[in-house]
């Protein structure tokens, strides 16, 4: 059985194809065509991965199904910016106004199993270029834990929260976390650790 379902939007960019072909991680992931969500029983999965290319208007129409999945203890991981708030805890994205390079440095705010052993420098820059990791915040709801932030303004770029309906929600306000798979840096740790975290029993909050 697959541990997680990844909603697929048929985009070349985002790392989905590399992840699915991976001999170790690929078999843990079911690739679920986005618009098949309404015909899918999510009870078969522990986690649901939603990438930046997702049609969030469609996800808004599936809110009851997503909340049902959370209520049974499921984990939803959302990457990208929030445009359409398809869950109660998802607030619209706010870019850092007129950001400069120093505003894009990634800071660790709290230890989290998904980012354990990942060096912030490997998130802040790719080939010396900043900005790939994030450029603003999906504003965390009250009670959320900020995990990583950006720049001296400490704009939260990653947070975890416990939705009111149940389950767990992990939100990354940037490109898909699975895009770091195969990066050749400590960022390679993100995907195996994300899958392990999703499938481990939920920790006390």
């Amino acid at each position: 059985m697959n541990d997680v379902a990844l909603l697929d939007s048929e985009q070349a960019e985002g790392g989905v194809q590399d992840l699915i072909r991976d001999l170790v991680l690929g078999p843990r992931i079911a690739l679920l065509p986005l618009y098949d969500l309404e015909r899918t029983d999510l009870a078969a999965f522990r986690g649901l991965l939603v990438g930046l290319h997702a049609d969030q208007r469609y996800l808004s129409s599936r809110r009851a199904q997503l909340e049902g999945f959370l209520a049974q203890g499921g984990t939803i991981v959302v990457c990208g910016h929030v445009g359409h708030s398809f869950l109660a805890e998802l607030n619209p994205f706010a870019p850092i106004p007129n950001y400069r390079v120093e505003d894009l440095e990634v800071n660790r705010e709290a230890a989290h199993p998904v980012w354990e052993g990942v060096e912030m420098e490997h998130l802040s820059r790719r080939r010396g270029v900043a900005g790939f990791y994030g450029r603003g915040s999906n504003l965390p709801p009250p009670g959320a834990r900020a995990i990583n932030s950006l720049g001296p303004g400490r704009h939260p770029v990653d947070f975890e929260c416990r939705p009111a309906v149940g389950g767990r929600l992990l939100v990354h306000a940037g490109a898909d976390l699975w895009g770091y798979h195969g990066s050749g840096s400590t960022a390679d740790r993100i995907m195996p650790q994300l899958l392990d975290w999703i499938t481990a029993p939920m920790e006390a909050w």
Binding site: P33, L34, D55, Q56, R57, Y58, H81, G83, V129, G131
Partner: protein, 212 residues
């Protein structure tokens, strides 16, 4: 009358509703809800980049009817247009986000039809950023912007923007590009892509919104 087809993503929403671009579309259509009524009266339909290709394949009969009736489709990148749009031949190229790190680097972009009216607005400053693939314009199409063989990782070169009038001998027209400016503009990443989108819309204002 200019309409935009959008796919419900955050970056489409930001491009449509954000402060930076306002009032550039007479009508916006959510792709899964596209129907013949939505296309009525449209002189041109921009197909925003990175719409879920399954939706575009499903809407292919409507888009073909629109072309056959004399409509203009402006198809942006990363939509797998080769799977649903007539005449489109597209080849993947790996994205080079890094060309500008080398001083004086030439990523190979060339304007090859400078007399085209799109270049009243769009210039090299808007065109030279990364691209995701190369097109082979079909017979009858006019290539507007090409990548030289030296700028192409595969050494062959090709088009990244063309204008195809009288598609299939009919009255329809297609402008096709592999550039994906909605994604980058809506993601607040890549200022040159935002400039390209703004200038592209200056051209569509002129070409398709005669009342303005």
């Amino acid at each position: 009358m200019l309409a935009l087809l959008e796919g419900g993503t955050y970056f489409h929403k930001e491009a449509i509703e954000g402060e930076r671009l306002t009032g550039r579309f007479d009508r916006t259509i959510y792709a899964p809800e596209l129907d013949a009524a939505a296309l009525a009266g449209c002189d041109a339909l921009i197909v925003a980049d990175r719409i879920h290709p399954a939706v575009l394949r499903r809407k292919r009969p409507l888009l073909l009817s629109y072309l056959a009736a004399g409509g203009t489709l402006i198809v942006l990148g990363e939509n797998r247009a080769q799977d649903w749009a007539p005449g489109v031949a597209w080849e993947f190229r790996p994205t080079n986000f890094w060309w500008w790190l080398e001083k004086g680097a030439d990523p190979g972009h060339r304007i090859v039809a400078p007399g085209h009216d799109i270049f009243h607005h769009v210039g090299m400053g808007e065109l030279v950023w990364h691209y995701h693939g190369l097109l082979t314009p079909p017979p009858g199409a006019t290539s507007l912007v090409e990548i030289t063989p030296e700028g192409d990782p595969h050494g062959r070169g090709g088009s990244i923007l063309y204008d195809h009038r009288n598609v299939g001998g009919g009255p329809g027209r297609m402008i096709v590009t592999t550039l994906d400016p909605f994604y980058h503009h809506g993601s607040f990443f890549m200022p040159a892509a935002s400039r390209f989108l703004g200038k592209l819309l200056d051209w569509t204002d002129e070409a398709f919104r005669a009342s303005r």
